[in-house]
């Protein structure tokens, strides 16, 4: 079914103690706004409004929800609660902070801290020339501190990509958008498909979801690093399984970045989840110490991959 686009709340709309400034983004699951609180501070507000289930028509505030979608709409709120719970119990400089959570307009809202800056995606798109290795290592090392905290709470982010990494003006990163962090939720609700971004999602996101683990987020970290160098998303994992056309970072940027960084990226981007770094800590170690070589290529599996590719051709 073709989902219609939802209309955002109008600028100036008073939502509890917050005044909407403008819409920041519109996703399939929610709308994100920039707003001001009663003392004039900027905050980010995320409104739960899946467009496949609830429609806000032009000029209206309350969304209309078809009778047959009411249960699914409520059920989807759980995903939103999961995100809220995940973030509320986390206080880390590299993870976005939740300030408030409330119910209004027949849906629910999450208020998060706003900080000056831009996304890593914007940064990469606007910068001229190569992104420097030192910058990449610095951003990702700190980001991984935040991700480690997330994993320590038995949560997976599952949607790490440059657009979900915020760079404060002073350069430190903040992990945003835990909308996909919902490992506990039933995947059988057809209208609320698990969301992921092609190119950044690990192969197990596409199929065998019981294999999801820290290594799935690590795949996305590798894909994000790759994307910063390529200025485009890498080939999607499901397509890679059918025919891997992803040029290894070690080959594509040989001589431009240190072999150790490029090897680490390729290590994260292994299709077999067992062959990637198994924990954020392992990856951090590789990123922090340029001299440590990643584990040797698994000969048999690389032969198997090559054989499979030959057969596929």
């Amino acid at each position: 079914m073709a989902a219609q686009l939802n209309n955002p709340l109008p600028p100036g709309y008073q939502l509890e103690q917050y005044r909407i400034e403008r819409q920041l983004s519109l996703g399939g699951f929610s709308i994100v706004y920039l707003a001001r609180d009663e003392s004039g501070n900027l905050v980010v507000i995320k409104e739960y409004l899946p467009n496949s289930l609830a429609l806000r028509r032009d000029g209206k505030i309350l969304p209309s929800i078809a009778e047959e979608h009411k249960a699914a709409f409520r059920h989807g709120m759980r995903c939103f609660f999961e995100e809220g719970k995940a973030l509320a119990g986390l206080s880390h400089p590299n993870v976005v902070r939740v300030l408030n959570f409330f119910r209004a307009n027949e849906t629910v809202y999450m208020v998060m801290q706003y900080e000056r800056g831009r996304t890593l995606q914007e940064y990469v798109q606007k910068s001229r020339g190569e992104i420097r290795e030192k910058f990449l290592r610095g951003v990702f090392l700190r980001l991984l501190n935040g991700l480690r905290e997330v994993h320590a709470r038995k949560l997976l982010h599952l949607d790490i990509k440059p657009a979900n990494i915020w760079l404060r003006s002073e350069g430190s990163p903040v992990l945003l958008d835990f909308g996909a962090a919902r490992q506990t939720l039933a995947a059988d609700l057809r209208l609320l498909k698990p969301m992921y971004t092609p190119g950044f999602a690990a192969p197990e996101m596409h199929g065998e979801r019981q294999l999801l683990g820290p290594w799935s987020d690590i795949y996305s970290v590798g894909a994000s690093l790759y994307a910063c160098m390529a200025r485009a998303a890498p080939q999607a994992a499901d397509a890679r399984i059918k025919g891997d056309r992803l040029v290894p970072a070690t080959k594509r940027w040989a001589g431009k970045y240190s072999p150790q960084l490029l090897q680490t990226i390729d290590w994260c981007l292994r299709l077999n989840h067992m062959e990637r770094p198994q924990s954020v800590f392992a990856l951090q170690r590789a990123l922090a110490q340029p001299k440590v070589a990643p584990p040797p290529e698994n000969l048999i599996s690389s032969l198997r991959t090559r054989l499979r590719d030959l057969v596929a051709q």
Partner: protein
């Protein structure tokens, strides 16, 4: 009163969570409860829910703002919860009665009072050592006390989980009561289900909670127990409370000094929501989820 408290309940590797935890406090008294609904009987989670709810509701009506007699409160509360579970099953003509273990603790005037039924435990940790703990109502525990088993054999004994006293069964429960135990600043009181103490053991549990921030240490402790619990990890639940001096300024601590006489704060974990059927999300559940989240925001924003 000033204290830091954290409660958490996780399903482990089980399909549903039959543990229930809650705490509730007035200006002058604090109640903490853990109940572990028994598997192998129907509706263990309902028995646990009734026990926890019954005790917290009695507390709210009787602690005004202090309880007249904490031991009498515990005895009456547990006995009536037992009858309430029994009646619930009888009304529905269930062949098998739901059952639950229960451990409950009251703190009032810096003195702790506790009682338990079954194998959910309470530990009092002082200076990193367990200075008091409940004795499980299990045959295995009796055998250890008679010298027929050592701790290691007990930990692996096939009937280590068989309790001879519980709430909701056909027999009147056997309850054990503590002494009146004055709390010192720095004491940690831990109530937990066997899903937590089983994999960890008393030694490790007390070592982990001896210092540091309870709000951070407790989730880690659960992680560790879950890891040790492995592929069949049981439901695991805990209420952990660190006692402070009234004038100690501890980050994340709760002070009841400024509370009105008739005010109560109750925290009950809301787990059912993750395991319910799609579509049965009630208004109440939404409100509860929002309450949980805002409570967590407040707790961690200090």
């Amino acid at each position: 009163m000033r204290f830091t408290i954290h409660q958490e309940s996780r399903p482990g590797k089980r399909p549903s969570n039959q543990d229930r935890v809650a705490y509730c406090y007035s200006r002058d008294a604090l109640l903490m409860v853990v109940a572990d609904g028994m598997g192998g009987h129907l509706h263990g989670e309902i028995a646990a829910q009734i026990a926890v709810q019954y005790l917290t509701e009695s507390f709210r009506s009787e602690a005004a703002p202090a309880l007249a007699d904490p031991f009498a409160f515990l005895e009456n509360g547990l006995t009536r919860a037992h009858h309430a579970i029994y009646d619930w099953a009888a009304q529905r003509q269930l062949a098998d009665h739901p059952r639950t273990t229960c451990v409950a603790c009251v703190v009032q005037n810096s003195v702790a009072y506790w009682a338990h039924v079954g194998d959910s435990r309470l530990y009092l940790i002082r200076d990193g050592r367990v200075t008091a703990q409940t004795r499980d109502h299990t045959r295995v525990r009796l055998m250890v006390e008679r010298g027929e088993l050592d701790e290691l054999m007990a930990a692996n004994h096939p009937s280590r989980n068989k309790v001879y006293s519980c709430l909701g069964g056909s027999h009147a429960p056997q309850m054990d009561f503590s002494r009146k135990t004055p709390l010192h600043a720095g004491d940690v009181v831990v109530l937990c289900s066997d899903g937590l103490w089983g994999p960890l053991g008393s030694e490790l549990l007390s070592r982990r909670l001896r210092r540091g921030n309870l709000l951070e240490e407790t989730p880690r402790l659960l992680d560790e127990a879950e890891e040790l619990g492995g592929a069949t990890c049981d439901n695991l639940s805990v209420v952990a409370m660190a006692w402070h001096d009234d004038y100690d300024d501890v980050a994340g601590a709760i002070s009841t000094l400024a509370m009105p006489l008739d005010a109560f704060t109750t925290e009950m974990e809301a787990f059912a929501e993750l395991h319910g059927q799609p579509g049965d999300v009630s208004d109440e559940e939404i409100e509860r989820a929002i309450r949980d989240i805002t409570a967590a925001i407040r707790k961690y924003s200090k």
